[in-house]
Structures are given as C-alpha cells and as structure tokens.
Symmetry: none
Subunit: 202 residues, 4 copies
Amino acid sequence: MSRKPNSEQRRAQIVQALLDTMAEHGYEKATIVLIARRADLTPGLLHYHFHSKADILLALVKALAAAAQQRYLALAQNTLDADQRLKAYIDARLGLGEGADPGAVAAWVVIGAEAVRQPEVRAAYQHAVDTEMALLRELLSASLAAQGKITANAHALAAALLAMMEGTFQLASAAPASMPMGYAAPMAAQLVRRFIDAEPPA
Amino acid sequence: MSRKPNSEQRRAQIVQALLDTMAEHGYEKATIVLIARRADLTPGLLHYHFHSKADILLALVKALAAAAQQRYLALAQNTLDADQRLKAYIDARLGLGEGADPGAVAAWVVIGAEAVRQPEVRAAYQHAVDTEMALLRELLSASLAAQGKITANAHALAAALLAMMEGTFQLASAAPASMPMGYAAPMAAQLVRRFIDAEPPA
Amino acid sequence: MSRKPNSEQRRAQIVQALLDTMAEHGYEKATIVLIARRADLTPGLLHYHFHSKADILLALVKALAAAAQQRYLALAQNTLDADQRLKAYIDARLGLGEGADPGAVAAWVVIGAEAVRQPEVRAAYQHAVDTEMALLRELLSASLAAQGKITANAHALAAALLAMMEGTFQLASAAPASMPMGYAAPMAAQLVRRFIDAEPPA
Amino acid sequence: MSRKPNSEQRRAQIVQALLDTMAEHGYEKATIVLIARRADLTPGLLHYHFHSKADILLALVKALAAAAQQRYLALAQNTLDADQRLKAYIDARLGLGEGADPGAVAAWVVIGAEAVRQPEVRAAYQHAVDTEMALLRELLSASLAAQGKITANAHALAAALLAMMEGTFQLASAAPASMPMGYAAPMAAQLVRRFIDAEPPA
DNA sequence: TATGAATGAGATTTCATTCAT
DNA sequence: GATGAATGAAATCTCATTCAT
C-alpha cells in the first residue's frame, strides 16, 4: 500500500537471490552478504525489505509453491481429456521443463530439509504438499474414473507419485551422476498407467 | 602400564549423537556443544576423536550406508525366491521396520540436502546411492527374469523405485501430517508388481 | 543518504594496533581481543575490515616496508653527495631516529620470525628485503664510484650491511642490556668507510 | 641422580624434536602433539620429562648456547695465532659449517623473537649473547693487540660483528632467495680485517 | 530507500596440561 | 616410565541484525 513502487520488485529480486545462493550453499551458508551480493544490493537493504532471513526463506517457499500452483492453473485451463492432463502434469514436473531450472529444484530439496526443523517452513512446505496432493488426487481420480475403475486407491497412488517426484528432485540434486538421464517422467507415467489398467472396474 | 584405547566406541557414540541431534536440529544447528551434550562428553573430546565436525558427518553417512548394506546382506542370505526377496526388501525399507527409526530417516534427509553443497558428503551419498541402485536392479532383474519378462527396463525401474523411497523419507520427515499412513510399502510393491506383469515376455 | 566509507582509516588504525600489540606480546599472543582493545574497537569489527588475522599481519608488513621506502624517497630527494647520502641512510636506519620507534623495530623482528613459517609473510618480507638491498647497493656503488673504486663487491657489501642492520634490530629488541648503547650507526659507518678505502681503484 | 638411565636421552630427544618442529612451524604452532610425533614419543611423556612446553624451549636455548660454547672451546684448544683464530671463528659461525644445519639457524631466529616477549627466554638468550660477546671481544682484542693496535673499540666492533651474524641467520632463514650465496663469511672477515688495519697503533 | 560500518552472541577449533590405567 | 583419552580455557572467525548517516 504505502510501499514505494519498487518494493515488490526488490522483494522478488531478493527471493530469487536466496534461491540461487541456497542452491549452491544451502540455507545456513547462504549469508545475508552473499544473498545481497547476488542480488546486487547491500546487506542493510535486505533487512529493510524483510524482517529477517527466515522471512526471505518463507517468501521463497511460498513463491515456489505459487509457481507450481500457477502451472496447475495453466494446465487446468486446457480442456484435454483426463489421461492427457495426467500425462502433461507428469511431464511438466519431471520432464525437461523442470530440469531446466535445476537451481529451483536444488533449493526445493534444501527447503525440504529445513522443513524438518523450522516449524514455519514446515507449515509452508506442508501446505504446498497438501495442495499438490489434492491436485494429483484429482487428476488420478479423473483418470481412473475415465477408465471405469475404482477410485479408492487414488489417495495412496497420489502419495506414491508425489514421493517419486520429491525423490527424483533429491537424487537429481545430490547424486546426478548416479541416475539414468531422462528416466523419471516416462517411467512414472508408465507405472501409473499400468497400475490403473490393473485396477478392478468400479 | 599403558592406557587401553577406546576410540572406536567413542567415535560410534559421537556419530550416534550427531544422528540424534541432526534429526532434531538439522546439520548446522547441531552444534558441537549440543552433540557433545547428547553424547555426554565434553566438546573438546569430539575434536580429539574427529578432526572436524564435517568429519563426524562423513562418518555418519558411511555408517548409515553400511547399515543399509548390512540389511542387504542379511536379506540375501535367505533363500527366498525372487519375488519374496523383492517384497521383503521394500518392506524393510518402507515398512514399519524402517519407520521404527524415524531419527535415522530424518538424518538421512538432512544428509541428502547437505550433499547438495558439500562435495565430500556428496561423494559418500552418491556411493550409497550407487550401492543401493545396484542392489535394487539385481532384485528387479531377478524378479523380471523369474516371470520370463525382459529385463531391459530394470535400471529405470530401479531408479524410479529408489526415488520413491527417498521421497517417502523426505515426506515422512517434513510433512508427516499430509501423508496417508502406511501407504508406502504396499503401494510401492503393487506399482512394481503391475509394472512387471505388464512387461512383454523375454 | 548513504553512509560514508571509513575503511581506510579503520584499517590503518587496526594495523597500528597490531604493531603495538605485537611488539609487546609477539604475533601469536597478540590476540584479536587484545588488538581490538588497543584500537578501541570491537573484535568483530576487525574481521569486518580484514578477512583474517594473518591479513592484518600482511598489511602491517607492507605498511612497514612502505614506510621504509618512503624514508628512502625523502632521502633521495636531497642532492647530497654519495658519501653524505650513505651516511645519512645509515643514521636514519640505525641511529637515534630509528631507535625512536622501538615498537616498530620489535614488530619487525617478530615479522622476521613469522616469515620463517608463513609463506605469504615470507613473500612480503622478501620483497621488502629486495627493495632495501637494491637501495643499499645503489648507495654503496655510488660511494665506491665517487672514490674511484671498483664496484664489484657492492652487492656482497650491501648484504653484509643489511645483515648488520637486521641483527642490530634483533639484538636491540631481545638483548638490549647486553649491547653497548649507540654503537651501531657509527661503527657500521666506519666499517663501510674503511672497507671502501681499502678497495682497489677501478 | 635418581633419574632413570634413559631420562637424559629422552630429554635430548625431545629438545631436538622441538628444534626441528620450531624451525618449520615456529614456537606457538609447534604443538606438544607435533613435537611428540617428531620425537616418536607420546604427548603425555613429554610432560613427564618436562614440566611445561616453555621448559623444553628453555632447554633448547641452553643446548644451542652450550653447543656454541663447545665450538669455542674446541677452537680455543688450537694454538693458532690470533688472526687465524678470529678467521676460524667467523668461518665456523657464518661459513658452510653453520649453513649445514639450517634447522638450528631457523630455530635460533625464532628463539630471538620469543625472547622479545618471554622473560625467561630473554634471560637465557641474553646470557648466550653475553657469552658470545665476551668471546668475540677477546678474539678481537687479541687480534688488535697482535697488530699493535689500540683495543678501545673492540667492544663496539664485537657488537657489530655479532649483529652481522644474527642478521645473517635471520636473512638466511627468512629471505634466502634474496641474498647472495656464501657472501657472509668472507665479507665479514674482510670488513673486520680492514677495520683493524685502519686502527691507530697502541 | 539506501549504505555500510558496527555489534555481540555464538560457532568451531586448538592445545597445554592432567590423569587413570 | 609410558600411554592416550579427557578437560577446559581461550582463540579465531562468522554472521544476523541494527543503526547513524
């Protein structure tokens, strides 16, 4: 409201700088000075725009969650059939599109670990997970229903798929050399497909 | 005359204290003082037995990897058939047995994030991942072969399954409230089972 | 709007405080807290202006070397004849003028010992020695030439004179009670004088 | 007296280890563990044979001073004439013989710096300097007298020569690359020779 | 808004010395 | 004599946060 015009831009700039710095150094070693340097700002200014370093992290978690939500909305707009939407979703998350921003992926992994100990981060992380779970469940239920299958296992299947996604991020960030390239999206799609095919009819 | 060395037990004690402390506070906030207090030792003694805090972490990574390897060996001894061995493996990793040590799981998640930025941790983490991948691939290949299926996709399937496991640990540690309980092991088993069933014959 | 930088004066202040503290306690016992106290600053601030304690030492070495260089320039400006310049130089270094800052002399002695083990200090120390050697050689060559003597031994003579100077500093700092007072400058001048007189003509 | 047979040998072993370690790391960084390792002993044993680390240093200073004294006695035994004895002394101190143990030279330089701040070391250092001064003065007086010269300046000349020696050690240890090789002994001898030659007759 | 110096709490690490065995 | 673990004090360094300008 009373913020000067460039405030929002500054905040975004700082949040992005935290993302970049965290992907490289982790959260604790992403010092205010390093973040400021990356953002091409001065340390003092970061505390003008954010109350604390933890606040920047929180803003980042929310920004990443919002970006995911955004991708969902873009996806939901298309009036594709259920199977195509599910396929598109998996590709968006695990395909080359996601791999195109390894920094965000690494930052997300670091955030996941911070969620283990920081209650506020955990809350934001859980909220993002809940949102994603709801979306996934919806996509899977629709796909199951379209095949005339029971939807009772949609929840558990969504959880397994989400875990696979999070684990893929983890492994891509921490052990890229050990994983076969490009395996994730097609294999996930096929696992889901065959699971659905084998489900009993409704 | 001379004093009896007790380094090995002290080191184990310290490593265990790091595990406990890390599970609760993360790596950076697991200070030497906290670790020492948990181990009921003085801070100086930690640096007598380990060169640095990073060294304790490295020892922990190796200990956890060795423990996993140990579970594999125990498993391999049993002369179960391929399917039973695969099922037992998944249960051991994702079932209640694994859940019985949530501390180790949380520590592993934190280690995964540290691997993003610490080269030496990354190397040890990757080694553990490689070992696990090799084991998983062997189990899956055997199961596929036993069904008379092609084994070409064993590698990608192993990667997907490993990702699902790592992601399950992550979600169990950081967003336990959001996940359906006990979903992981049976759902993973079923996904793999149906995938294998749908593979073409060799 | 923005704050005016004062780093240069702070750095000089800190370097001077290290000099004072080192002259009294040596390098290792010149702790950050002691230096800060002497400079009337907080310990943290020292690390804001210098990366490490070793960096302060390096700055001190360079400052002392620069001060010596400065004295040379002031000396060179005077258009005295060769003999007078040489005499003035020896007096400036070994006479009461130099003795007027026993702190700097003691600090220089301590630096010489640190140069034995710290490569970066050694490099800076060597550079100072090289500069001094070049100057001395020039002064001696001019004096020899003015007398019509060969200048082949100017280098070795310069080395001997420099050694005498360094040793005088050492003895003045570590064993002042054992040395005859005020012997250094006149005796050095006379030794050089008689050496030159006895050199063969060019 | 009541010490066990190997005590003296152990002490010598430890003192030598301090010398070696100090030459490389300086006094403060020559830790008990490093010294013990160099002596192939255990840390605890060092404090059995010496009350404190400072005590080992003191023993080292005395050992080095005694070794110099020893060289004097060996020298004095020879019934050379005054000039030859002086020449032999300078060679023994500054010639290749001395350069053959650069470790002892470096240790002596470090001791000189420690003498700036440690009273007990200073006392021992001064005693060594006094002894050396007395010897030098005697040699110079004898040489002057043998030439029929006045001996009034023997003290100041001895001081200058001692300073040159100490400075040579300093420069050889801290700036070896900057000094002409082998300059020290012949140049010192020549400086003294020409000084004496130019002295007035008694 | 913006700067950058300044603070102070706290972290890791070092190490002489002690001491039970 | 000998060992090596243990202690505790102290050192360097880090860094989020504050604040005068």
